[in-house]
């Protein structure tokens, strides 16, 4: 089937099987080997992408689900101002995700910061999709809270 979608700012019409996972579309059709893992739905959490600004596991999103939607991978997200806010939050808390889960965690942090989620349980529930054990829960909560503050300050300055 033909699917119209926007991936990393490019408007595309892809011709592929309707149930092909997004992680494989990114790997095979888009040639993005670097950031997206494909664990066949084993919930490794390393294939996180933003679909319309919400963090999702790419291996669990079938092709037909992205029709008309905007997909952002870490490769394009890393160049944005929003990523700089997250980097500032990492620095201010003094904790960084390991290189393996850096992309996935950063995208989930972005999703949480964008929605302004402050409830610790919701934050940890969202972040639990990344199986990598490199960060402890309290640091994750602090990073989201700090990120929201930084984003708010930036938005105030801009307005």
């Amino acid at each position: 089937m033909k699917i119209d979608c926007t991936i990393d700012g490019k408007t595309l019409t892809l011709s592929l099987n309707s149930d092909k996972p997004l992680s494989l579309i990114l790997r095979e059709n888009m040639g993005d080997d670097s950031q997206v893992n494909h664990c066949n739905g084993s919930m490794c959490g390393l294939c996180t992408v933003l679909v319309d600004g919400k963090a999702m596991l790419a291996c669990m999103v079938p092709a037909f689900e992205i029709r008309g939607r905007t997909v952002t991978t870490f490769d394009s997200f890393r160049k944005t101002r929003n990523m700089k806010d997250i980097e500032k939050a990492y620095e201010s808390v003094g904790r960084f995700p390991c290189t393996e889960c850096y992309a996935s965690r950063s995208l989930i942090f972005e999703s949480l910061i964008d929605e302004g989620v402050t409830d610790p349980e919701t934050i940890l529930k969202e972040l639990s999709i990344v199986r990598c054990p490199c960060m402890d829960p309290e640091d994750e909560i602090m990073i989201v809270h700090r990120g929201i503050e930084i984003r708010r300050k930036r938005n105030v300055r801009r307005s």
């Binding site: 940890l124 490199c134 960060m135 402890d136």
Partner: protein, 644 residues
Amino acid sequence: MADRKNFSRYNMKCGILLHAKEGSVRISDLKLPELDSRYLVLTGSDLPGNNSINFFGRSMPLIAKETISYPDQIVLALFAPDYESAALTMREISLTTEPLKETPEPATLPDSLEYSWGEMDDNAEGRFKEVTTEFNLTRIARPNRKLYTVTAWLEGSNMHIEAPSQWVELIRDTVERATGYPKRNIIVHLLSYTAKHDEFLIEPAILAAIAATATIRTGLPSEIREECFFSRPTVSVKRRVLLDEDMKPQFESAEMSVDQGAFAFLPEEYQRQAMTGLIPPYPLKGFRGSVKIISSPSQPAAFCGSLGYSEALASTEYHISRLAENAGMTPSLYRQMIEKEKRKFTDYIPGFDLTSQKKCMDKVALSSSFDRKWSANTFQKEDFGLLGYLKGIGIASGAGIAGFSTTLSKETGFSAMMTFTQKHNVTINTSALTHRSTMKIWKKRISERIIPDRSEGVMFLDPSPDTIDTGPDVLSRIVASFTLQLESAAKRLSVLKDTEKPPVYLQFDAENTYYPCEFENSGSGAVVCEVMIDKTTMVPRVKGIWASFAFPTVMDRISLENSIRRTIMMTLQENGMSIPLSFRIHVDITEEGTDDTISSVQQLARGLTLGALYNALHQAAGGKADKLPISDAEINEAFTGEEK
């Protein structure tokens, strides 16, 4: 060095592998569907050269030929125009196996490594109190769920390989042996990777050899996509100690048995590292230690990030806590009673000062209220019935060791070359340049010695056929012993550049003068772990970790602290611990300000976390479930005796 060729994915062979489901069986039938020229199947007999990977003199087949030694062994590689067709075709391939009629020949293993001092007393007169302890770690073998790809393509007379690797030279060597392609014409392009253990050491070399064979057969670029894998060996340590009337240990024997799976990689080094961890820090009149490697039809366990030191250190720490329990004292107080100011000098580890280690222990014991909690848990567990008190706290402390042993360094002669060029720059020829952050620190430190305030003048040469093999990038060799060598070379070069006309070359390797013993100690630490078993679900939860470390030099405090935290978290989760919302790791790092470089932080943090966790679990479960990793079902079974 040539960049990666920009070939189209539509003009490439995509490979997937068929893995065996069980080990110790014979292949009785392998049925393949009719395949057209777009497909290629490679079995063990299709490789033009040797179907084996050679690692420090020990070998293992790349693809199983007639017999399958362990579950998950590669049986066949299938290459297709795309991964979907490869997966669909793979479904039509049927593998039939039958149990081996005769027992397979066990892998050639080294003799048990023995080390002892003093005459052992057999306690025939009953003068001493005898205490025995047992420490068990069961095998962890599971895919990491992380995909990686290995690509091979031809360009003129050169074979290009693109892969993540912890030892580039092993890839070149394996491809040469499997395909007959001269090593000089094999160019490896290193992909960035994050290895928690040693998952990119052996397997990428095997995949590279298979992909290179497919490329030679088809003339097209070939790629294999695979999940990375690691395996921790089964470890069992039995100790017997004789205590005098003051409960001080006098004689001790320790037997360590390690199941390294179907094939053993570098078992001699494992024995040396394990023996270093087995030797207790307290004085003894007599000690006898042995490390035995055994094999079984399971996935070969290679380094797993520790090569045995952390497991052995954890077993020693567990043992000390059991002695303290017998003496009716808290482990921290008991250690103060039995340990002297300095350790005994042995062939494996020098007789270093224990003051900083004791300071670390005091710090964590104080910040975690260890003595109070330990005593409370010990007293209160007797007041509870069937389930016990289900709370436990454990402590472990020890010193870090650096890199590989002196024996291995002498045998292998891995080296690197530093050159002061005519343009007054410094170039370094080494294969150990996989981590940018480490290279940045090296550049800074080397420039300080030779060309002050000009770190951009220090350059690491790009990988090429002339790159000097500096050995595998495991065990933090590059931040431990190799840094020591680099600094020493920089010092010597700073003198030579003033006396000789540039270019001045200096080839350096692990010299005997650095290591009076098998290993050099560097850095020390202590960890306290608090565990609570959930009364309803029996899930073991870690309430908190308190860690204190002291290192001679701290190059980057934030990276070091993050590295310690990651190692602690990884060790806890690997061993089946649940992490609650309130969990917190308290890390304290002290810089001693001496000239030595830091040791392998991961090894030390891992060993101490493992030891403290084992101790805490022992106290929480009342000694009923002494093994790691452990699940809720296993704890439930230990308490109730019910079948799963």
